[in-house]
Each structure stands twice: as structure tokens, then as C-alpha cells.
Amino acid sequence: MTDVRAEPASFRDPSGAVFYEGGRVLRGLDAGAAAEWEALRRTRFFPRLMEEGRIVRTTTADVEARGWAAILEHERIPFVSHPYEWTFEMLRDAAVVHLEVLLAALDEGFTMKDGYSFNVQWRGAEPVFIDVGSFERVGRGGPWAGYRQFCQTFLYPLLLEAHLEVPFQRFLLGHLEGLRPDDMRRLFGGWRLLKRGVFRHVYLQSVIEPRVETSAEDMKKELAEAGYGADLTRAVVSKLLTVVRRLESKRSTSGWSSYRTTCSYTDDDERAKQRFVGEVAERLQPPLVWDLGCNDGAYARLVAPHAGYVVAADADDVVVDGLYRSLRRGAGPGNVLPLVVDLVDPSPGRGWRNTERRAFTDRERPDLVLALALVHHLAIAANVPLPEVVDWLHGLGQTVVVEFVERHDPMAARLLANKPAGVHDSYRTPVFEELLGGRFEVEQRLPLPSGSRVLYLARPRP
């Protein structure tokens, strides 16, 4: 019997629910939602945007109804990520796609029930709108119901970064419903009210909100009587789009943004490492690779032609944003997903029952893990004991390519220089090799030519 699993994040909208059957992504619709779908698939915009890749590919599925009026099948997203793992430009581009899809829908008499940043996912560096259940005919009229949610989960995080140079990821991680208008107003007092998008989309909401207690339905009626029409919804969405498109991050440097020019590799080291990693990927042809501590993504790019999909993760949002931009503007490779993930404090399970948004390590498991120039940061900079680091790698459950940077390497020495004497005395190659050999079968070992780094290809022991 085929295994059926409910999507833990799909429960708020009672008109449908996403579930998985085998490898298929299915969405059950009640009678009302099924009627909306029939109308939706006959529009011009929906098939066009699906064809262009901006809406997730969706068809009516010929499967057992399971009590639903209709079942849809969606294209599978290779690795589900969350907005608090995206960079500034990723969140901005996701917001643009969301609004562009909404504008196209409005032109044909459809709107969206919500405006949530979780409605967008990624195929590599291409944002794709996935919440097909959000479309509904404008029939009931009134303003876009998702306006406030869009502001809270897309616009306000972007304003934080663009105007205050404050990374938004930790705020979104802490508040899945985003930042509230009154909190934003406190952050944007005085002359900051004049910054792009603040007065119109932050100040007005924060001022009006405490003073209005009318029910939503009564308010819709009042607005309609006052002359509110579909043209105003279109106008506000267009204005949001203009604001979002013009937002820029001013942070262009970070602790790791110049790593490529300051790292201690010789050209021979670099070539040997590329050959080693490239040959492993070519031989294994892994469906899913995690490049942990990816920096500018050079090795994610290297393995991409041999992999189904590559998740390139790093804690530094500025370098990951650089990788994202280069993937977008340099046209690929199309199977690399850049993510902001601090491996010392990775995304936990969030939301209802802590399962609504799954932890980074509880999603699709990798077939190959790259941990290049990573161990010394975990063991020395973050003070994670070396046995813990090896145990964690083993817990990922798959083949790893791991690099050990010896303590006399300039990069490791720099980290050790700030640590009390003796604290990291066990950070040595023989100790690491003994630990690695205890949990993994080491298949290949390659000391790099300069003599301060060693690469290992290791398979976990059962």
C-alpha cells in the first residue's frame, strides 16, 4: 500500500490540503475550491505563468478522491526552504514573483486569499509560486486580503535590510507571521518615516490599526459604498511592486565576502581539491548534495553538473546573496539552491507543534555532503568538540567529503590565536583521523600540496 503523508504546514485553509503519496505531491480540494480550480485552469494567465516557470506545474490528478471533490498534482520542489533561510535578494525576488502573479490574476478576475512569503519556493535560483489553492475569483470584492500578511512577511523584512542594514533572517525565524506594523513603526520613527515604502505601508497601518474595530465584512461593504473597486486593488499591488523592486541591500561586505582572495590555498591546493571533489561527484552522481559552509559556492558549482540538486548553505548572508546573484545573472547552473544556514544554530522545527516548518536537517536528506574548510570553524571558532563534529557528520547519514585544516595552517592559526592556550590542544590531524575512522570508512585520503590541509572521502559505518 502506498504511503500517504499529510503536509504538516497545510492545515489553515479548510478548503484544501496538501499531502504526499509515494513521491507525488497532491492537493485535495473541497467542492468550492474545485470550482475555483476549474475556472483557474481556463484562464490565460495561469497556464502561461506555469509555462514560464513562475507558478508550480499543476495538473488534475487521476487518483482516489479520498473524500475530496478534486485532487491536484504539483511538480515536486527539490528542496523546501523557508524565507528565514533566504538572502535579501531572494526574498525580494520571491516578493516580486508573488506580486506579478497576483497582478496577472487580477487582470482576469482572480485574486489571492493570502500574501505569505511561504507561498514561494525555489527551483535552484528561480522563485516559483506554489500556493495554487490561494487563487479565488474576485466575486466577493473588497481589498486584497493578503495585503497585511504580504507587508509583514515580505515587505517589512526587506525594509529592515534596505533601510536599517539589519539582516531580517532571525526576525522571520522568530516570527513566522512576520513583523508587525506597530513594531516596525517604532523602528522607523522620525525622519525614517520618509524612507521608501515606510509611510505608505508601515505608518498608515500602524496608525489606523488600533482605531478600527469594524468587522472585515462590514468594512468591505463600507469600502464598496465609498467607491472601492478592483482598480484600487490593482493600484496598491502595482505600488507595492514598485517599492519592492527598488529596494537594495547596502551591505556588500562581511566577514567572509573576501574569503576567496584572503584564504590560504595555493593554486596547486586549489587544483588538487577541485580534482578530488569533482571526481567524487562524477563517480557518485548524487541526486542531492549539501555543500555546507559553501562560501561563494565554487564547489557547489563544480559538483552541480554531476548532481541532481545542490543545496549550498552558509551562515553569511552577504556571501550567499552574492552566490544567488551570480546564479541568477550568470544563468546557472540551474540546480543550485543557495541558503543562509548557520550550522551551529540551524533552522529548527517551527510553527504549530514545531512541525509546520521543518528543521533544516529534517527535510530531504543528502546523498553526498561537502564539508570543505568547515571543521576548523565548528571546532575552533564555535568551540564544538571535535568528536561532536564527527558525530554530527555521521548523523547526516551519507558519504562525506571532508577537509581537515591543520592547526599550523594560517586560517586555523588565526582562529586559534584568540583562544586560551590548551583549549584546543586536541585539534590535530591524528585525533581527527582516529575519530573519523571510528565512525566512517575512509575511502580516500589526499593531503593537499602545501601540507596544511587533508581531504577525505568517507562513508558512514552503520
Binding site: E136, L204, I208, M219
Partner: protein
């Protein structure tokens, strides 16, 4: 086919006025008509100490 579609997301009536006002001049006129009595001369906190709902995504049940 007659169907009933329930909105699961509380659009928030205040945000409706705000979004109308955000639509530009025509929207400001509409928002002003609806919000005038609530806003003019009343730029003071409401008396009620009702806490806000924790989420704007309340399922209709």
C-alpha cells in the same frame, strides 16, 4: 455551480483601509471617506485594552 468560499485569512479591517490609502490619490479619497470619523480628532489610543489576536491567520470554523 453555486459554491461558498470562506476566507481563512482575517484580512484585518484596519489593513483594508490602509491598503486603500496605499493605492494612491483615489484610494486615499476612499479611505478618508470610510476612516474619517474614526481618525479625525481621534488620534488617541482606543479605550479598550483588548489584546490583539496572536495571528492573522484564523481558520474559519
Amino acid at each position: 455551480v453555486t459554491v461558498t468560499v470562506l476566507a481563512y485569512l482575517d484580512a484585518n479591517s484596519a489593513s483594508m483601509i490602509a491598503s486603500a490609502a496605499a493605492a494612491g490619490a483615489a484610494g486615499v479619497a476612499v479611505a478618508a471617506k470610510v476612516g474619517w470619523s474614526r481618525m479625525t480628532g481621534r488620534f488617541r489610543p482606543k479605550q479598550s485594552a483588548e489584546p490583539d489576536t496572536p495571528s492573522n491567520e484564523d481558520p474559519v470554523s
